[in-house]
């Protein structure tokens, strides 16, 4: 009994070492298992590092030429989000500036702007936005709304005929309102999207790396098989699966620590995670990703095909995590599909732990699903490896009989 266990552990360790040696020798695998998890997050962080767009250029068509319209323009220009880059005589001229990508929007102040205000009538400011970019549209539109409200409040106070400042304040806003953005107070794009991207990179890089490594093994093998038939250590499905998984988990353990702790700190993205909770989340996530990758790796024949399979799904996977499109608005069919991938729950749980400071209890449902996925993908990995194992044995059997028969014929000759 003990000898069997010892032999088993010995084989596992042997396969672990073999796999590790193969990965280090293979630059294609190294790129995905090491370079991509190390380098890609830095690139993405750099891209999104500025978090928000400031000083979006707009053109103003001021047909009012009044003190009030100039005040409105000055106020808009003074905000961090909008910059008045041009003045145009009419809308056509302004439009030509939009077409040349010099500005992203137009503020049109009609000629009766001040007249109407002074007559105590409602006046308008027209805002025309280039809708090809949502962030610039929001900046241009919201700035106009806020500044118009502020200018209007000033006019209200002037007309109000109140005696005290307090009366003015109550008149302008009988019900005070305070909005608080939680967990990502500046509403930064990077802080929102990056935690999800980090976790997704982990899964995708692992699946690509494992797939490539499996492809290499097949191509090196004389029968095109995943499991070598001439090595006595590769004598059982479980030791093969656990040996390989240990190797991948080991590499992934290091890269995931880097992704979940170092990168957010380097670029000062929100990081509220408690170390223990993070660990309890990352263990099932890494395991689920490893077994997921191993299952996928058996599906591909040529090593490069895994790239054709896995790379393009990254974008749909990111959408299915519910970070860029709210989870509650994801259609049912895609909610169902999203359950197949560890990244869906890994990302959701990580965002909550890391960006929202959720505790272990609060992400328990996701953790449970990740453990279920780990178990299911472990089972599937064992199944597909058993299939591969049998194939390898079959080919080896064929070959040995072929060899022995040829030897026989040689001897008889």
């Amino acid at each position: 009994m003990f000898r069997k266990l010892k032999e088993y552990l010995h084989d596992v360790a042997y396969i672990w070492r073999q796999e590790m040696a193969q990965i280090i020798r293979d630059e294609g695998v190294l790129i995905f298992l090491v370079i991509v998890p190390l380098g890609y997050p830095l690139l993405y962080s750099w891209i999104y590092n500025n978090e928000a767009v400031h000083e979006v250029p707009v053109v103003v068509v001021d047909q009012s030429h009044s003190q009030l319209s100039r005040k409105f323009i000055r106020d808009c220009d003074a905000t961090p989000d909008v910059k008045v880059a041009f003045y145009a005589e009419d809308l056509d001229e302004a439009k030509s500036l939009v077409s040349r990508q010099l500005v992203k929007g137009i503020y049109l102040i009609p000629s009766d702007f001040a007249t109407r205000l002074n007559r105590m009538e409602q006046s308008t400011v027209s805002v025309y936005c280039d809708m090809s970019l949502m962030l610039t549209y929001k900046a241009i539109y919201q700035t106009a709304v806020i500044e118009a409200g502020r200018l209007g409040a000033g006019l209200k106070i002037k007309r109000g005929g109140n005696y005290t400042k307090r009366e003015d304040a109550v008149m302008v806003q009988p019900l005070a309102v305070e909005g608080v953005a939680l967990f990502n107070p500046s509403g930064g794009y990077g802080s929102c999207i990056l935690p999800a991207v980090l976790m997704l990179i982990l899964q995708q890089a692992l699946a690509l790396g494992i797939g490539m490594s499996a492809g290499t093994t097949r191509e090196r093998n004389r029968n095109g098989q995943l499991i070598p038939d001439d090595d006595p250590h590769y004598s059982g499905v479980y030791r093969i699966v656990s040996g390989k998984a240990l190797c991948y988990a080991m590499i992934c353990g290091v890269t995931s620590a880097y992704l979940s702790m170092v990168v957010p700190r380097m670029f000062s993205f929100p990081q509220l995670a408690n170390g223990c909770d993070l660990l309890l989340l990352m263990i099932p996530y890494i395991l689920a990703c490893v077994f997921f990758g191993m299952t996928v790796s058996c599906l591909v024949r040529y090593r490069e095909n895994v790239m054709l399979l896995m790379v393009f799904v990254s974008v749909p996977l990111l959408f299915m995590t519910g970070v860029s499109w709210p989870q509650s608005s994801i259609p049912g069919i895609w909610q169902g599909v999203s359950w197949l991938f560890p990244s869906t729950f890994g990302v959701r749980a990580f965002v909550r732990v890391n960006s929202m400071g959720a505790t272990f209890e609060q992400i328990l449902p996701e953790i449970r699903i990740l453990w279920i996925q780990t178990a299911v993908y472990l089972g599937m990995a064992c199944l597909v490896y058993r299939h591969q194992f049998r194939l390898a044995r079959k080919y080896a059997g064929h070959e040995s009989t072929a060899v022995s028969s040829s030897e026989c014929s040689g001897a008889s000759c």
């Binding site: 995905f32 991509v36 890609y40 750099w46 805002v127 090809s132 200018l151 309102v177 909005g179």
Partner: protein
């Protein structure tokens, strides 16, 4: 004439390869169509509707209940839960049940009537920007309207006319024009860039793949020999098949979004055709160029896939390029999808003249011509390199 016959022969040979290796069929037709189906169904709502939010109502008055009801009636928000405390509501956000909550403290309506300016607050999570900003907009509107309702009541009592009341409440109205995409439809906004981006990924990846496979199976020499050693003819013959299949898929996609789903656009049909043709040839050019730089199947494919995935961020459709650091703004020119996006935005979406996007037109043409620099390397690779797994 000789060239044409050679091209035809090589094209037929390529067609045979495409039919034999199933992965081509999947990557050229099936996966792109799956991606089209994914994005168009995923974003079918256009804007996120009925996002779950909560209410912490400590006031329990008819005013606070009216606020809650109005909030529930907003298009983007749905009140799914009432909480007894702010901590409980925050818990619900952290557990992912709601995106935001509205807090009405005790004594709000009482203070409101007495003119003592009570304060209501709304909290929203910005870990999902779309959900956060949508719920924020709704809650802000409701709070502002609540404020206005009080002012309106006071002024009605004082005998103002409705017009005067409107003026006092909102002296300056913003008249918003969201050009081309008036409802701010995310399907229109995202599908038109992400799907072509993924298609371009396949185009570049497959052109590197198909060249690499010639090396891997040692058929490169035979392929070049078919063109009498003329690598230009060999490349044209090989990739004309790819280009035609991809053009078909791309046109199908464009027909689907503009013809069936009626995505808004101001540009004419020709601007779409021009964009599609440039898209296909620029991507193929990029793939061939990458292979020429690194004539190894795995390296060129790795670079193509990493580059193309970066394209989706660097094209600046989600986070604008002008918000990035200056070096990145210059680097964005090296990404084909950036030029595609700009050309699309100027000529198809906004319907401006192509001269306004001449730089990006030239950019795409430049990507198409890139293989010219590596013609000799590709030929050399085909004739002399040996594949090492």
């Amino acid at each position: 004439m000789k060239y044409l016959i050679q091209i035809r022969d090589i094209a037929l040979r390529e067609l045979h390869i495409l039919m034999k290796n199933r992965i081509y069929g999947f990557c050229m037709v099936v996966f792109p169509l799956v991606v089209v189906f994914f994005f168009t169904t995923f974003l079918d709502d256009g804007v996120p509707l009925d996002l779950p939010i909560g209410v912490v109502d400590h006031d329990n008055s008819s005013t606070s209940r009216a606020l809650t009801r109005r909030l529930d009636a907003m298009q983007n928000s749905r009140v799914v839960a009432h909480f007894t405390s702010v901590a409980e509501a925050r818990n619900a956000i952290q557990e992912g049940h709601i995106y935001a909550f509205f807090y009405i403290p005790r004594g709000t309506s009482e203070k409101l009537l007495a003119g003592r300016q009570p304060k209501v607050s709304y909290y929203y999570t910005m870990t999902c920007l779309t959900a956060g900003s949508m719920t924020m907009k709704d809650m802000k509107t409701i709070a502002t309207l609540g404020s206005a309702a009080v002012g309106m009541g006071t002024m009605q009592a004082k005998g103002f006319t409705p017009q005067q009341i409107q003026t006092v409440l909102q002296p300056i109205r913003i008249d918003s024009h969201q050009i081309v995409n008036p409802e701010g439809n995310y399907n229109v906004y995202l599908t038109t860039v992400l799907v072509p981006g993924i298609m371009m990924l396949f185009m570049a990846l497959l052109s590197a793949y198909s060249l690499g496979m010639e090396l891997k199976f040692g058929t490169g020499r035979e392929w070049v020999a078919k063109a009498d050693g003329n690598i230009v003819v060999a490349l044209v013959g090989k990739f004309i098949v790819h280009a035609l299949v991809f053009l078909l898929v791309v046109f199908l996609f464009q027909y689907y979004i503009y013809g069936v789903l009626h995505f808004p656009r101001l540009g004419g049909a020709w601007s779409i055709v021009r964009l599609c043709v440039l898209q296909v040839f620029a991507s193929l050019g990029f793939g061939i160029f990458t292979f020429g730089l690194m004539p190894s199947l795995r390296m060129s494919m790795s670079v193509c896939s990493l580059w193309s995935v970066l394209c989706l961020s660097m094209c600046g459709s989600a986070f604008p390029v002008m918000g990035m650091d200056a070096p990145l703004q210059a680097l964005s020119w090296l990404f084909p999808l950036r030029h595609y996006f700009m050309l699309y935005e100027v000529t198809v979406f906004n319907g401006f003249s192509v001269i306004d996007a001449w730089f990006h037109l030239v950019g795409l043409i430049a990507f198409t011509l890139l293989p010219w620099f590596v013609l000799r390397k590709v030929k050399n690779a085909m004739l002399t390199y040996v594949y090492v797994p």
